[in-house]
């Protein structure tokens, strides 16, 4: 098992390098001149040249790339064009917001998907409802779900606040009540995805002989479901959780916007809107690295959990 893991890690490193380089080059190339982008179309050539010199955009691309990576490793991502504070200080607080939102949403989605699709009674009686919930999760866009929830629970009933973020300093209860609606909104889609994947795998597992053999031992239906079928059916869900975590390194863009949460997604959108190239670049690079890293983790987790791969 160790050799498999080491090999995957070693493969991930050149992948990260290649992808970040690709991203760097394509962003800078496609955006034309970052300086022109930041200053606007009708900036004078002297102003552009000045910005180029100041940020070093006039150097060859690969030099820029290595400098950026070298600085990034030290934690220096440059300065935000709009706010002039360091990019790192702009991004850092956003990470914890997105992380918390993503974490709760994924856990809720995964637990919900696995449990509702494993309970023997659930599968028979609740079956149509679960399928319905899946469908809603996958087809209702985040913004629609979020706004609908706000309309019902905030505007209508007044039970919950309409924004998603209250800092921990405002009190644990306040913080958590603010999180309820955004977490529900974000998890709905993943609940649908995880459910579909898990249910399909569970159906296959149920047909396998060891399930019948376990029943023949006198094991109860629910124990067979949770101790025999679930551990086998959950493997693809693990992969999907990893994939999802990777995707959410870019933030839950729509959910954060609907609920006005200061997360990475919203920062990305605002940096794009304000043409803040250094911030945009930093976040994009973060996403690429996050995706590769999470895929690697998911691979490793799968290897560890599946005894058939884990041992010899």
């Amino acid at each position: 098992m160790l050799t498999v893991i080491v090999r995957r890690v070693l493969l991930a490193i050149p992948t990260m390098i290649a992808l970040t380089a690709l991203l760097f080059f394509s962003l800078t190339a496609l955006l034309g001149s970052p300086a022109a982008m930041m200053l606007g179309q009708d900036a004078s050539p002297e102003a552009i040249a000045a910005v180029n010199a100041r940020y070093g955009f006039d150097r060859p691309l690969h030099v820029q790339y290595f400098d950026w990576i070298a600085a990034a490793i030290r934690g220096d991502f440059g300065r935000s064009h709009t706010t002039q504070q360091s990019v790192a200080s702009a991004i850092l607080p956003c990470i914890s917001v997105t992380l918390e939102l993503a974490f709760f949403a994924i856990v809720l989605a995964a637990l919900g998907a696995v449990i509702t699709n494993t309970l023997p009674a659930g599968r028979r009686v609740l079956g149509p409802f679960v399928v319905g919930a899946n469908l809603i999760g996958i087809t209702v866009p985040n913004f629609m779900l979020g706004i609908s929830l706000i309309f019902v629970f905030s505007v209508g009933l007044g039970w919950l606040p309409s924004t998603g973020w209250a800092p921990w300093s405002a009190g644990i209860l306040t913080h958590l009540t603010h999180m309820i609606l955004p977490v529900l909104t974000l998890s709905a889609y993943y609940f649908g995805v995880f459910s579909i994947v898990y249910r399909a795998e569970y159906r296959d597992v149920e047909k396998r002989l060891f399930i019948q053999a376990a029943r023949a031992k006198g094991v109860s239906r629910s124990r067979v479901a949770f101790r025999h079928a679930l551990p086998n059916a959950i493997l693809p869900v693990i992969t999907f959780v990893g994939l999802t975590l990777g995707q959410l390194t870019g933030g839950a863009v729509v959910t954060e916007t609907v609920f006005s949460m200061p997360g990475i997604g919203r920062l990305l959108v605002s940096s794009i809107a304000s043409h803040d190239f250094p911030v945009m670049l930093a976040i994009a690079m973060m996403i690429v690295i996050g995706v590769v890293f999470m895929n690697l983790l998911a691979d490793i987790a799968y290897t560890i959990v599946n005894p058939q791969i884990r041992i010899d």
């Binding site: 002989l209 053999a213 029943r215 551990p231 041992i311 010899d312």
Partner: protein
């Protein structure tokens, strides 16, 4: 001595997609304690379904699809009709009073749990033993079954063991609570011939030690001769001949049995004409059985006007010998 298991008029129907299929039709038989009976037939004749019906694992959709009576004499002495028991009550029977082993040793063990875990589960399910006590029992069982390095085997996962070892583990699980009846559904079919012989020897030895009865389900006559004293031949969901193995094999009365035996290659006798006589035609689909005798389209003794009209019933032809054929008296032994 009363029978350990009495099956009366067992009928299993599978309904789905608008079709109703009679997998098993009014099967009746007895099993005495400690006896080995072989249930033989080609695939699709319903023999596996009978095993599952006894265990209550047929998974039939509607209540009316499973009828008849399966009366078991429990270890404690009482006699109950298993068909009347709820699934909850059956959990106490499965693995404890009646155990079952299956055909595919790889697929019958859960790949994500160790062998030890799976044996322990059977023991704690019925005996509520502590973990160490269960482990000790498991170890003892594996040793009894002749598995080398039993401690290592307990900690191993199924995919690390060979086919023969896995089947022994299956047997260990089945025997862990000392059932009075073991249903063996083609346990050697997926195994190497040499391993096959070992497993059969093992089963005979265990039976002698524990006194349990075995219902051995197979399509292989060679295995029947090895392990069973009595046999029941099935065709299209019904028993068509039953009796002592020696008698049925040497003097089959039902044309189907005869044809089956004739089609087996034998070392002591050349096949007539140099070719093995295969049974013409195909096993009928359970949803489209021929009128009259189910075997008549393929039977060389079939009489038009008789065999395609009347459905034969099971008749006694000797002491403890039954046959289902309209013409058995006329057909020479």
């Amino acid at each position: 001595m009363s029978a350990l298991l009495e099956v009366r008029d067992l009928t299993v129907r599978f309904s789905g997609r608008g079709q109703v299929v009679n997998a098993v039709h009014r099967v009746s038989f007895d099993l005495a304690p400690g006896e080995t009976v072989a249930l033989v037939g080609e695939s699709g004749c319903g023999k596996s379904t009978i095993g599952l019906a006894i265990m209550g694992l047929t998974g039939v959709a509607r209540a009316g699809d499973l009828t008849g009576a399966i009366t078991l004499t429990f270890k404690a002495g009482k006699r109950r009709d298993l068909m009347g028991l709820s699934d909850r009550a059956m959990q106490a029977v499965r693995g404890n009073e009646v155990a079952m082993i299956f055909q595919e040793p790889m697929s019958s063990l859960n790949p994500v749990h160790t062998v030890g875990w799976q044996i322990r589960e059977a023991i704690t399910q019925h005996q509520g033993a502590s973990r160490t006590a269960a482990d000790d029992s498991a170890l003892g069982l594996l040793k009894q079954l002749g598995i080398p390095d039993a401690e290592r085997c307990l900690r191993a996962y199924p995919h690390q063991l060979s086919g023969g070892m896995r089947q022994r583990v299956m047997i260990a699980i089945a025997l862990s609570c000392r059932p009075s009846l073991l249903i063996a559904d083609e346990p050697t079919t997926a195994l190497d011939v040499t391993i096959q012989a070992q497993i059969l020897e093992l089963l005979k030895r265990l039976q002698a030690q524990t006194g349990m009865a075995i219902l051995f389900i197979t399509h292989n006559f060679g295995v029947v001769a090895e392990i069973a004293k009595r046999t029941m031949v099935m065709y299209a969901g019904q028993i068509v001949e039953a009796g002592a193995v020696s008698e049925v094999f040497h003097a089959p009365r039902m044309p189907y049995t005869r044809a089956l035996l004739d089609s087996l290659p034998r070392l002591d006798r050349a096949a007539p004409g140099g070719r093995l006589p295969a049974i013409p035609g195909q096993v009928p689909s359970p949803s489209a059985l021929p009128p009259g005798c189910a075997f008549h389209p393929r039977c060389r003794y079939a009489l038009p006007g008789l065999c395609d009209g009347r459905t034969p019933a099971l008749e006694m032809c000797d002491d403890r010998r039954v046959v289902r054929c309209l013409r058995w008296t006329e057909i020479a032994a």
